[in-house]
Symmetry: C2
Subunit: 385 residues, 2 copies
């Protein structure tokens, strides 16, 4: 909680970072708006902008005709085409890879079914994008459905993608030595991207629930990411909600994962054996919508336990926003009544009264955009470093 | 997550605050150490110290003879006697009130059984302390066993002290108009004080569990307090751990409160009806230590559920430290094996591997010292404001 005293040089870097972050997050903005938003005077904004322009990070343009009297303020925008990061999302069924320009613009993208050799395929995808030698590549951010060590991107546990103590960060670094590599859990980066440019803009207390085979959370509290001592925070799927429930593959019993996970929904809905993934879930929800009682009961059951866990998290975090992403998006939409009912009965009035339940606005791009944010972070912290 | 760009004036204030906070938290410190710790040059440290001394916040002294060659660095210490706050802790059985000097020195204190008119008694206690008219009173910080609105100190829920929607902050402000009033949950402020000057110094990811009739948590994640949107975060006592458990007074069933709360332990231990409080808990623990099988089973049961909830929180927060305070201190010490066993079986290896389980080092003063930190906060943020 201690704020170290900044030196003059640090202040300049902070200011450059604050300005660049603003342009990166908000898009095209006038110098006048920057002056207001950052609380710096016009000449300081002019000097900082000039430095960033000199470094090729932003450009300044005359604005469109405003019709007002007086000299219009120059507008500043990020050089999205020439300053970019690579971003990847390693999901249960799919790997997505993109080139994302400063400002959060997806410039190129590919996706393919998750191969056995993820590192090789991801490296090839990164190298397949055509870039200009003058362009500046900041790094590679990777989102993954696993428990990731912050320090070095080691995937400690990723049962649904067959990983355990897999040194993913180091392996990627070896193949792509010129890029700074960051790896994080997919729920963490989705929380980050929705907070930066999605449904959670301006919300300081947010829980993003990402469902695939199981469930994980990306948490923002007081405006700060909650990632824990080693980076393993947010493993809400292994919060035990039902001590007399079924055995979880983690060794525990009645984990939230086992009550709301994909396989539970499919089993209760009597889906065909060996079906899985988002399409199978959507098929159950579709059956429920068309009046299939078995599917309806399955959706209600899962929705009830979904609300149960949400209520626990709301009592713990008192968030203003809970976002249902990944496969939980559709599960939530089909069972919102159960979720809200559980939340109302189990959440304390004080902790739940202002909480909004929402779905993501960035859709399938949330993980890529969040992974890109990870990779942009060193640049935004110190643009000329 | 956006860091606003600081102006020159803000930087000066930040530096003054950083220096004063250092002296407040670390005690007597030399100018040379401040230079190193704050990363500012000697002349800046000299100027900042002079400003704080001028304002009567710190004094400088020649150090004791060091025996080394060269001019020894002046030492700086807080003016604890003349710059102080009032701090209070409203507990189930007791009210404690103190005058706490800058640097965290308890100058005077009183305590009394919790009266019906808490506001009146607290006001009288504050006014009873002898102070010099030249002294500077910063504010009043209050810790309370209840769910508190951050904005205005409204106690939304405090069933064990008979409060519901009690405007405690406003009532105190009316009686003590010259003081800035801050009210917060006792677990939150205990986490703060143990982090500032107790067992959690230097730990950025901490869960402080405070037990009395029920249990609440003060949480620090990534070095920041997790208090939620309205200030109601940390209500871990109403995390449901046992859906088939007993009815909680919150209306839910199987809350952590109902499984590890005081009344559960006393009932299972077949304590005399109408006993309660820390002495009754200690009596059960004492019976268990002396071989009473009923008491032993009660302690094991509560310890098992204590570990259950701790494991959930460890999976969610990946903390480096869990602190057992209030009556949970003794319950934990008597059932550490059960707690650790549950944590090992339910916590993911990654989330639990580095977690230490500890008792507080500030003892009964933790709440008072934490309440004092709340009251000092405006001064430390802007010492000359």
């Amino acid at each position: 909680m201690r704020s170290p005293a900044p030196s003059q040089e640090e202040i300049r870097r902070q200011n450059l970072g604050a300005l660049l972050r603003f342009v990166h997050e908000r898009g095209r903005i006038s110098r006048a708006e920057l002056t207001t938003e950052l609380g710096l005077n016009r000449s300081t904004i002019g000097a900082l902008t000039a430095e960033l322009a000199e470094a090729g990070l932003v450009t300044e343009e005359a604005p469109r005709e405003t019709g007002r009297a007086g000299r219009p303020s120059l507008t500043v925008r990020a050089c999205s085409d020439s300053i970019f990061v690579y971003a990847a999302s390693i999901e249960v069924d799919l790997v997505r890879v993109a080139r994302v320009g400063l400002g959060g613009v997806i410039l190129d993208r590919v996706s393919f079914p998750r191969p056995v050799d993820v590192v090789g395929a991801l490296t090839s995808a990164v190298q397949s994008f055509t870039v200009d030698s003058a362009d500046r590549r900041i790094g590679l951010g990777v989102a993954i459905v696993g428990v990731v060590r912050r320090e070095d991107g080691m995937v400690r546990l990723g049962p649904h993608i067959g990983m355990r103590d897999e040194p993913l960060g180091d392996q990627l670094q070896e193949r792509l030595p010129q890029l700074q590599i960051s790896v994080a859990n997919v729920a963490d980066v989705c929380a980050l991207s929705e907070h930066t440019r999605g449904v959670a803009i301006g919300c300081d207390n947010v829980i993003y629930l990402y469902g695939d085979v199981g469930v994980g959370a990306g948490i923002i509290a007081g405006g700060h990411r909650v990632t824990g001592h080693g980076g393993y925070g947010g493993e809400v799927g292994h919060m035990v909600v039902n001590p007399s429930g079924t055995r979880c593959e983690c060794g525990s019993r009645g984990c939230w994962d086992t009550e709301i996970g994909e396989q539970t929904l499919l089993r209760l809905a009597e889906s065909k054996p060996d079906t899985s993934g988002q399409e199978a879930i959507l098929a159950v929800i579709d059956r429920a919508a068309r009046g299939d009682h078995v599917a309806q009961a399955a959706v209600r059951h899962v929705g009830d336990w979904l609300g149960f866990g949400v209520a626990n998290l709301v009592n713990i975090f008192n968030p203003e926003l809970v976002i249902f992403g990944g496969t939980l998006r559709d599960v939530y939409l089909a069972s919102a009544a159960q979720v809200r009912s559980r939340l109302n009965s189990m959440g304390l009035p004080a902790t739940r009264e202002h909480v909004r339940l929402r779905t993501p606005t960035l859709g399938d791009d949330a993980a890529l955009l969040g992974a890109a944010e990870l990779a942009f972070e060193p640049l935004l912290r110190d643009p000329l470093g």
